[in-house]
């Protein structure tokens, strides 16, 4: 395709600017586990925010290391939200896990990863070196969602 080159180049400019290893954060502990009653919560900051507040990170990738479906097999939607300190929550996007079977990741190759565009207001907040709080919610599509659980591995800002 004649026009693919410039677009590839633009995409290539997306560098990984920050990697927040949630599992390494002892104080957040069980906050990485989500159920229908309790979302997982992760605070992320850019390791090296853009100079002069320039926007840097534009995508967020949520990795999942453990998932358990509902007891009755009814479907679950995973909704990712974000907020700034003191601000209201905003949806970033959602996903499902297929097959809808329990898994625990034992290696990076079996960790499932989901990519989302980051709304511009959060791009600006991160570029200013301030934190964004991400939450991962299990939302029943049908039924009550009992028994469903998920563990977030990492939140990566790209």
């Amino acid at each position: 395709m004649a026009n693919a080159g410039p677009r590839r180049a633009a995409v290539g400019c997306f560098l990984v600017l920050a990697l927040w290893i949630a599992a390494a954060s002892a104080e957040e502990g069980d906050q990485l586990r989500a159920t229908v009653d309790q979302p997982a919560r992760i605070t992320a900051t850019e390791a090296a925010p853009g100079s002069n507040g320039a926007a840097t990170s534009r995508r967020v990738v949520v990795s999942v290391t453990h998932y358990r479906p509902t007891d009755d097999g009814s479907p679950i939607e995973v909704v990712v939200k974000a907020r700034t300190a003191g601000g209201g929550e905003q949806d970033i996007g959602s996903f499902g896990i297929t097959p809808d079977r329990e898994f625990t990741s034992t290696a990076p190759s079996t960790t499932q990863r989901f990519s989302f565009a980051l709304p511009s207001e959060f791009v600006a907040v991160l570029a200013a070196g301030k934190p964004v709080i991400f939450s991962v919610h299990l939302v029943p599509v049908r039924g009550e969602g009992r028994g469903a659980a998920l563990r977030v591995g990492t939140i990566e800002l790209h």
């Binding site: 395709m1 677009r7 939607e77 949806d91 996007g93 809808d100 190759s109 990863r113 565009a117």
Partner: protein
Amino acid sequence: MAVSRRNVLLQGAVIGAGVIASNVPGMKALAAGQPPERRTLQGLAWNDPIVATYRDGVGLLKQKAASDKTSWAGLAGIHGTNPGAYHFCPHGNWYFLPWHRAYILTYERFIRELTKNNDFALPYWDWTADPAMPEVLLKPTTPDGRQNWLYVDDQDFGKRWKRTWPPGEPMPARFVGAPVLQDILNSPDYEAFGTSRPQGQNNLDPSWVLNRSGDQGTLERLPHNMVHNSIGGWMPSALSPRDPIFFMHHCNIDRIWALWNSLGNGNSDDALWTDMQFTNNFINTDGSPYSPKVSDLFAPETLGYTYGLPSQVAAATASPNLLALQNKLVTLRAPGIAKSADVKTFSVAPTGQTFGTAAAPLSLSVNVDPALIGAVARRKPVSSGAEFLNFAAAREQRATGTRVIAFLRDVMVTQPEDTEYRVFLDRPNLTAQVPVSDPSYVGSFGVFVHGEHGGHGSGEFNPSFAIDLTSAVQRVYGIGQPGPHGLKLQFLPVPIRPDVPVGTIRPGRVEIAFINA
């Protein structure tokens, strides 16, 4: 001569039969004519030839011994070995789309072979247009009292497998709605569109195909995964191909890939993707292995089917104007590419903090070159194609002449869940009572809001919309001209139900683009 849809199908059938039956290579098939077209299930009756052939084919596969690798259960074993374990099929990486293209193609070929119907092509379930599960799959018997092989009520692996999604209930728009599709089609490159490469991939070892560490974009993580999981029964499991709806669902995913390509988006040219071979993953109808490389799977027409979209291969030879139009449109949409000389744009941004309301629509006037309005007015009426049985020629005609498109950028709205936003062209005394049948009506759009907190969905900015003004300009201005105020667009919010509050609207910028093809 009156031309029925069936006649059109039959003509396509004659062409397609020769292509598939003789098993000629792809380019020869192209030269012979258009292969069978995959069509939407929407509106197809239980006894439509497409549905009947699919039902018969599934029945013949199901009646084979489960131990036969070419049986319904045997072919599903290509996908998964048991409900919790995948076999060959990739998910969560960039092989997801080409692998599933080859997989559903395998079934399409088997059904043609078993039913001796070489003009058959898989139908797709367009869940965006028709989000309820297709009716032809939902009842245990057909109206003539025969077994409906597309119905699912199976006993296996020690449990009963039945779909649990209620018949007639639409899949949620937040999974399959038009804004989701728009988000998917706006993906800037293949790895954002069709899931990225596995983390750390540095060679073509086949083990990478089963590595799930790629970043799933909207297409895989949302409509693909959530439709699988919502249907219930076999569908949320690794043995999902045991449900005939699997192929209607994946055919639609495959169509969206073809659609994204037809909009001018190129696949990855990284050899780690294009050169991966799915060795011995699939089966030909004679039982021999089918082992395509990713690069063998780019063009549906070379594989023996089409979606009727302008593929790069077919368009290059048959539809130069259509191809040229696509390239010009890409220059409008893609960042970092200089605009085509055949594209003229004019823009305006509202001043102040004025919002359009139901009582006071927002008007934005754009000064444009009057000669371009005249060029739009002189554009030939668009043919449906049916009158001369050549849809490719109709598409080519449609792409010819000057058209005008409005790009509404950075559209700010309030109360989006309750509001339809209507666009009119130069309508005096515009009020909420002006019907959409008015000649000045251009179109409507909604703004997707997911969740109780609202927000921007998965977008990075406020949403933008493209609206084709060509027909409205012809109706409103004819061979005349806009007044001294220029081309005037009006934005009118209306409530979607009488009992809900209505929102407001304010585009950040409006661009009017005239494209000459």
